[in-house]
């Protein structure tokens, strides 16, 4: 592996305009495979979820999964695509051991969804958005997984042979392909990342996929080309395969911009090829030269009949689409009165649904955000958990805040109530009861405690009598200490001032 020369990002952009293209493969979360009844559960023992169809045994016949077609159409509708009234599968012929049939059943010139778009919000750019046009979203099947043995690194170089597990072969995939995205200039890396992130959220909202990049259920290929700045031309592109984290998408775009700029700057020309992304070093290296489409010798799949989605059915799916994540966020931000930063932090912490649920259960938006983003985020972080995995519900959090609002607990006690809930001691009310956490609302006891504090601190009491109200803090502190924190500090303050002014 040789490291190629790269130009700095700034220099590269002075001379060239980048054009992006993204191909995202998403594994659907259907129970069974695309063309057979084999299970799709992730992580099963090798070759335990296979049958004659997905092993490509002679005579086996595929039958299309209805749910996969429905998911494909819903994805297309969510991406503002037209839905084909009639389309077919095609055989994409190539010979590689991860594809036991020696062809992949895919769609070629008749994709089920085409001509769509998604408006992508660019982070750190003042609410600016970029319209990414979707060329097509088509159905296909996943391949098996190869393990290269005999080599040192598990990669193919130096391997004696490969071992193949076909559990993944035949899992339904949707390939979503953008049109070239131009004019993003220095934002190209963040636009690429934001597109994949937003697409992931959209797919999650549709409930059609687990969209777990680390498990490979969402995979991204990054196409990039450069043209001389201001020329409006399209340069030769490279396709960087398997860029499988959001951060890597951004890094891969940035790296290819610098690398291609150095090639062109040195008088060379970019080779149209597949490139491999190296997560560890953050670079791409040359793979095979890209086959021409004609080398795949596509032809209509004779074993599957055409798909003709009924227009009324498509409309009924459209009517039942969930609100798109971007619109939903804008609406919630407005409803809740959050600043851009507060909203971004809420989303970034994975707390959107939790905060929404807490507000729905009666808490004020700012209080809901405060609990999840400070107190609970800290605890989740300490335990290495996602916020949503903490054993506390939005309703619990709303109840804790209600206890504060009712004056039954103060902030400090409220945190102890949460401790109890997180420790599995029951609902907030049960924890208050069992731990005896309610603030003392017995006026007589409070009044006596205030009197004792005044007697013990005559100097402070004198200052307050002279009008130095700020000194009251010391007496309030003394009272709270006597009451072991189980008092309403606001009420204590009122009592102190009543007695001394």
């Amino acid at each position: 592996m040789t490291t190629e020369r790269t130009l700095s990002f700034t220099e590269a952009l002075e001379r060239f305009d980048p054009t992006l293209g993204l191909e995202v493969h998403v594994e659907l979360n259907t129970a069974s495979k695309m063309f057979c009844g084999c299970s799709t559960v992730f992580g099963a023992e090798p070759n335990t979820q296979v049958c004659p169809v997905c092993l490509g045994l002679p005579g086996a016949m595929p039958v299309l999964n209805a749910k996969a077609v429905e998911s494909a159409v819903r994805i297309g509708l969510a991406l503002n695509c037209d839905i084909a009234s009639w389309c077919r599968f095609a055989r994409k012929n190539y010979f590689y051991p991860d594809m036991p049939k020696n062809f992949q059943t895919s769609q070629y010139d008749e994709p089920i969804c085409f001509d769509g778009w998604m408006d992508v919000t660019v982070p750190d750019a003042e609410g600016q958005s970029v319209r990414v046009e979707i060329e097509r979203a088509h159905m296909e099947e996943d391949t098996g997984k190869s393990l290269h043995v005999g080599g040192a690194t598990g990669r193919i170089h130096g391997a004696d042979h490969s071992l193949v597990d076909y559990n993944r072969a035949g899992i339904p995939l949707i390939e979503i392909v953008t049109r070239p995205v131009t004019g993003t200039r220095e934002s190209a890396p963040v636009v690429a990342r934001a597109y994949v992130a937003q697409l992931r959220d959209l797919l999650l909202g549709l409930g059609v996929s687990d969209v777990r990049m680390e498990q490979g259920s969402l995979r991204c290929d990054v196409n990039l080309s450069l043209s001389p700045a201001g020329s409006g031309l399209l340069g030769t592109r490279t396709e960087t395969k398997n860029v499988n984290s959001l951060r890597s998408v951004e890094r891969a775009v940035r790296y290819e911009i610098g690398r291609q700029a150095a090639v062109l700057d040195g008088g060379g020309s970019v080779v149209q090829e597949t490139r491999h992304w190296h997560e560890d070093t953050g670079i791409t290296t040359s793979g095979r030269e890209k086959s021409d489409a004609e080398d795949y010798r596509y032809f209509p799949e004779p074993d599957l009949v055409p798909i003709a989605p009924d227009a009324d059915w498509v409309e009924s799916l459209r009517a039942r689409l969930p609100e798109p994540p971007r619109e939903r966020r804008a609406r919630l931000q407005e409803d809740w009165g959050f600043s851009d930063l507060e909203m971004r932090d809420t989303v970034g912490a994975g707390a959107l649904e939790l905060v929404e649920g807490t507000i729905a259960a009666g808490a004020a938006p700012s209080a809901a955000r405060k609990w999840w983003l400070s107190e609970l985020a800290r605890r989740a972080n300490e335990q290495g958990l996602e916020l949503g995995d903490l054993p506390v519900t939005p309703a619990d959090v709303a109840r804790v805040q209600a206890l504060v609002d009712e004056g039954r607990v103060n902030d400090k006690l409220a945190r102890q109530v949460l401790d109890g809930v997180l420790a599995g001691e029951g609902t907030p009310d049960e924890v208050v009861e069992r731990r005896g956490l309610a603030v003392v609302s017995d006026e007589g006891a409070l009044s006596e405690a205030v009197d004792r504090a005044i007697a013990a601190n005559p100097d402070v009491a004198d200052k307050i009598r002279e009008g130095k109200v700020a000194a009251a803090g010391a007496l309030i502190g003394a009272v709270m200490k006597q009451m072991r924190g189980q008092a309403d500090a606001g009420r204590v303050r009122e009592l102190v001032l009543e007695k001394l002014t």
Binding site: G37, P52, V63, A66, R155, H161, L163, A308
Partner: protein
């Protein structure tokens, strides 16, 4: 009259990962040309009013419900493997010049 060149045969062999000698290419190219000729004769009967089709029956939307059904056991799945399986997986020759 379709014709197929030696280069095209060599390219197809390459795509199909079949190692052909020069002599074999010379031998196969004319044979493939005959097959192409035979298939091309269909064009003579396909008139303009006959739309191209990929299926003999006018069927659409043949689906199955998304229900898991038992497939093969590992032993059954691996029983036809030409090479002794390892780690419950099919063993295949490495592919040169490409990376999965």
């Amino acid at each position: 009259m379709p014709d197929i060149s030696r280069d095209e045969v060599a390219h197809l062999a390459d795509l199909a990962r079949i190692d052909l000698s020069e002599a074999e290419i010379d031998h196969l190219a004319p044979q493939l040309a005959v097959i192409l000729d035979s298939v091309a004769s269909i064009r003579e009967v396909a008139a303009d009013h006959v739309p191209p089709t990929s299926h003999a029956l006018p069927l659409t939307n043949v689906f199955r419900e998304d229900v898991v059904r038992p497939g093969l056991t590992v032993e059954e799945a691996l029983s036809g493997a030409p090479v002794e399986p390892e780690q419950q997986r099919f063993s295949v020759p490495r592919i040169l010049g490409e990376e999965a």
